[in-house]
Symmetry: C3
């Protein structure tokens, strides 16, 4: 028989969140230097590292493959790059920061005047010490990114530019971890792995998704879980192209991105707007005791825009802390190891645990004594705190077949776990029964 | 033929509210000393007093009777109780305040040390001069309540405790007044009669319900009215157990409690949330010119929790002034004759009259000249105040078969009675006709 | 094939709004002295002036004709009127202001004491320099309006009063301009022409409606447009009486009144409350960059009360700046040529153009590549401003058959014209197709 307690998570007592935060931070330190892009060996290296924590399938999709409206691009790899100034001094070196080279730069080795070089140089005049992050995936070009302060020191003369890259047929690779549960219906967690040395965007998402998957692998699951570690845009498009029929099983989904800074949580609802995942995350954040913001769906942002394209229209939202573009360190070299915090990572993982708890434990019951209030005292239920007694009354009053525990948590403004505990006690005393056989696992 | 004016109430001119307030206050003075509980002679005495105003049936239900999930408890009666201090001086006497004895205390007569007595003594440390109100209905025990200031003066030594009570098979009694109207559909007014010497909670509810019933008995009624004077929780449960089939006729309902203090009105909506009674009371309070608050249903509070249990789910809200637990005098000896006010009682009764007026007069009509605006001038209707002329236009424009007078009052922000007067004038000129034969009385 | 660009209006570049404002102001100067009423030659003269700009049919409906619940009144004309004081001095002359005579005054010529005259004199004690505007259409009477300051100077003695008017069988006349479009469905613009020398109420509405009609006559139209220049109340009632079957074709409608002062825009929604016209005007004003207010329907105001009577219930709102009765110059001689402004008139016309643009260009499309996001870059669509790129994504994501361009503009908070431009570009690249053949013109 089903008991919601079977799927209880109690991360704050079972797991040491502080230790988990430090572990995730160490994982980010390790992955920080790797030069990732939408294809190439940096992504492979990243996926191999994740695989040490999670049983990951690594998929390779050949360049040129048609995926929905797109085509898998050539694979890009880079070994070295530099600029030498007129005196022959190396003034910029890819070895120091992989942000120095525009992603997908074609190989180049030539001498040129500063005037001719300038159109290939990118800086942030308003943030003169930071190196910007730039790519040119679908337009063949090359370029360098550097601090504006350095750019302003450049003297006239002949410069040597060198990029030892290849852009040739290969494959796009992504990682997929599937954790089967009692139900075929699944929860999709997707995070992008295409950014080079940027910590919040998105080593934070990679770390939290990895540790969430590791934790879920070790416990019983009502739902099945699918984790996707994919390059942005082309990654989910590729997965969706090959898994169109599977998407019917996706009942809940979340994109994780920018979850390592110390800003308040931000949840962007799915295109469905009132999908259960939207209600769950809203409830979890509302009862988190922390500042948070819920936003409407907009058709730009992270990979939720693919899952939420009108043909799929999946119930997939996006959990962030400070959203992309709204922190100054966004897409530049200041999104570094100082910007993300072990404590923030732990806090993000904690909210993910709470979201999973609601997904796992939400259920509809029927009050077996619906006429009048059942007498709690004679069943030994008239104890506990006032909040716990109120939770019993809320669950009894609204367990009428048309309200789930989540509905009741929303109505009562009680934390879902208090409501679920009350339901467990009432179930044990026979005051509740299952509302609907169909939605239960065998 | 139906005319809404037949069911008009005009309490402010027809009745002297000030006199009514004083009459209700006198009634409370009379009932204040009676020791009520959920059973026993104090309830009988109270019901007999109500019967002097209202044609009340008094029901007796034997102890042990199964009522829904509950069992009617033994009957409790008490004649005397005291504590004598080590010097033999009577330091606490039931004769001074029936709050001194925990309700449903079993008989006791023994000598004991202060140490052994203390677990049986209850005080309010934060309100040291007040005697708390406590009961132990379903757990056999005995105890005394006293002012914390007195408790702190108690010296060591041997005390004599004496409670001359009986707890034995008898019956639970409650009062029921049924006032038939043109329609079988009925309005339920329920108020609890189980509290001893506490004025706002709930001699105020008893007084207002009694005088409302007396007033309704004396005039024509479209709806039938049922007044229940019942002990809390077990009372409505008992009534519901024996009247389950009758509940289908309940179209409107209200629990009256704590309506004698000078706080603003508070209305707690029914579980249905948008039942007509909820809209009516909200409208009446919104147009009362007084401060008020409307609250959502929660499954604890007064007896509305029984009427609104999911099996019944009746359209029953709860009208209060300051809600239970939100005034300092709640459930202690300061809820006395000084705390309730004749003027507040009169104001509560006045709003009840206004609620009844909307119940009685709400109706849907059809504009008989719906194309363009009918010419009011040629019918002698272009007179009165601007508000009255606007009311005519509102009624004409929205009398399309899908809007009741209450809908129109809500849309227009006009007082229901102005809207009803306008409808009466338009009916008289033939500009309105009845919308729906079915909902009219024969 | 349909292209929304066919019906684009770009008034700010195509038309010189400043010049249009001055032209409208000149038109108001010309019509200001004319003595209009609900019937009579002043209305005819006004309609003839409008006819110089718009191909207007002028309808004459005989006095005594039954129109819905009303009867067309006798025709009123006035040539002269005065009051002479006891010394024989003409102290009030209709030639100076047609507001001096109560509209529909019957002829009179007699001598009378001040005491007997006073009941026929009307002033504004709170605005002592202004002449009020009064009428007595359906009650036979006569009277004069004058400044309260002058009234207070009147000395006792015998006065001579003279009104050379006629009130006799004739006709009510109104103007109607019909501009056929590709669709039979039509847009109704109605404005009242019955007020004498008052500029904002409603020469402003007459001017804006006239110039809007002139502009629409000169361009392609998807919808048909009907402009009504009608006396208040009896005018729309007369039109509705004879055109009841035509009203089914009215898909959008607006009453224009008081659109010449410099107050913020006010739109009063139709009785339908969420009609497409209500959403369109709300969107247009919300994206106007100007202060504005949207109000609920109320059954009094201008002629929208006739179009929105329950039998018709047409989607007709009312566009104003400062609403009637809410400016001090309302219905008195201070609503003069100084009170209305060329710039305000131009601004009102501009918003009308924008409203028409949405009416003409709103449409529902289907994204032809709904799975994932289509690759914009390969189609040359990844250019323009960020707002323009976002507009492309909004249109693609929500073109699912259940969202119109107006829906998308509302969802995205983008100006409708940005959204329509995006749709045009996507249509041209084959990424959109028509959602619904039925709603398209042949």
């Amino acid at each position: 028989m089903f008991a919601i307690s079977d799927h209880r998570l109690n991360p704050t007592s079972e797991l040491d969140l502080t230790a988990l935060g430090l572990e995730m931070y160490d994982f980010i330190i390790r992955l920080y230097p790797v030069c990732r892009s939408i294809t190439g060996n940096g992504v492979r290296e990243t996926l191999q590292a994740i695989r040490e924590y999670v049983n990951l399938e690594i998929r390779e999709v050949p360049s040129g493959t048609r995926v929905l409206d797109w085509t898998v691009p050539p694979e890009w790899n880079i070994r070295a790059a530099y600029i030498k100034d007129p005196s022959g001094r190396k003034i910029l070196d890819f070895a120091n920061s992989n942000l120095h080279v525009v992603g997908y730069s074609i190989p180049v080795h030539q001498k040129m005047s500063l005037e001719n070089l300038k159109p290939h140089l990118f800086t942030l005049p308003d943030r003169p010490k930071a190196i910007p992050y730039r790519t040119s995936y679908y337009q063949k070009d090359w370029g360098f990114c550097l601090a504006h302060a350095q750019f302003e020191q450049l003297i006239d003369g002949e410069y040597e530019v060198f990029i030892d890259s290849t852009l040739e047929p290969g494959s796009l690779c992504y990682g997929e971890a599937y954790l089967p549960g009692n139900l075929d219906e699944e929860v999709l967690i997707s995070t992008h792995v295409c950014h080079p040395s940027l910590c919040n965007d998105n080593l934070s998402g990679i770390a939290v998704a990895t540790f969430l998957a590791r934790s879920l692998a070790g416990r019983s699951r009502r739902y099945s879980y699918r984790f996707l570690f994919v390059p942005g845009t082309i990654g989910p498009i590729t997965w969706l192209a090959f898994n169109q029929s599977r998407t019917n099983s996706i009942r809940y989904g979340m994109v994780l991105a920018c979850v390592g800074d110390d800003g308040p949580f931000t949840y962007k609802r799915s295109r469905q707007d009132k999908a259960e995942i939207d209600r769950i995350v809203s409830h979890v954040l509302a009862t988190s005791g922390k500042e948070y913001e819920i936003r409407r769906f907009i058709p730009y942002g992270y990979d939720e825009r693919q899952y939420c394209s009108p043909g799929f229209n999946l119930p997939v939202g996006c959990l962030m802390r400070t959203p992309h573009g709204e922190f100054e360190e966004y897409h530049n070299s200041d999104d570094d190891l100082n910007f993300v915090q072990a404590e923030a990572l732990a806090g993000s993982l904690h909210q993910c645990f709470r979201i999973v708890e609601v997904i796992e434990r939400n259920h509809s019951f029927l009050n077996t004594a619906p006429y009048g209030e059942p007498q709690l005292g004679k069943r030994g239920l008239y104890d506990g705190t006032e909040e716990q007694r109120h939770a019993l009354l809320w669950v009894l009053n609204y367990s009428d077949g048309s309200h789930s525990l989540l509905d009741i948590a929303e109505l009562s403004n009680l934390n879902f776990s208090i409501v679920a505990e009350a339901a467990d006690r009432l179930l044990a005393r026979g005051l509740l029964k299952e509302a609907d056989k169909k939605s239960l696992e065998s």
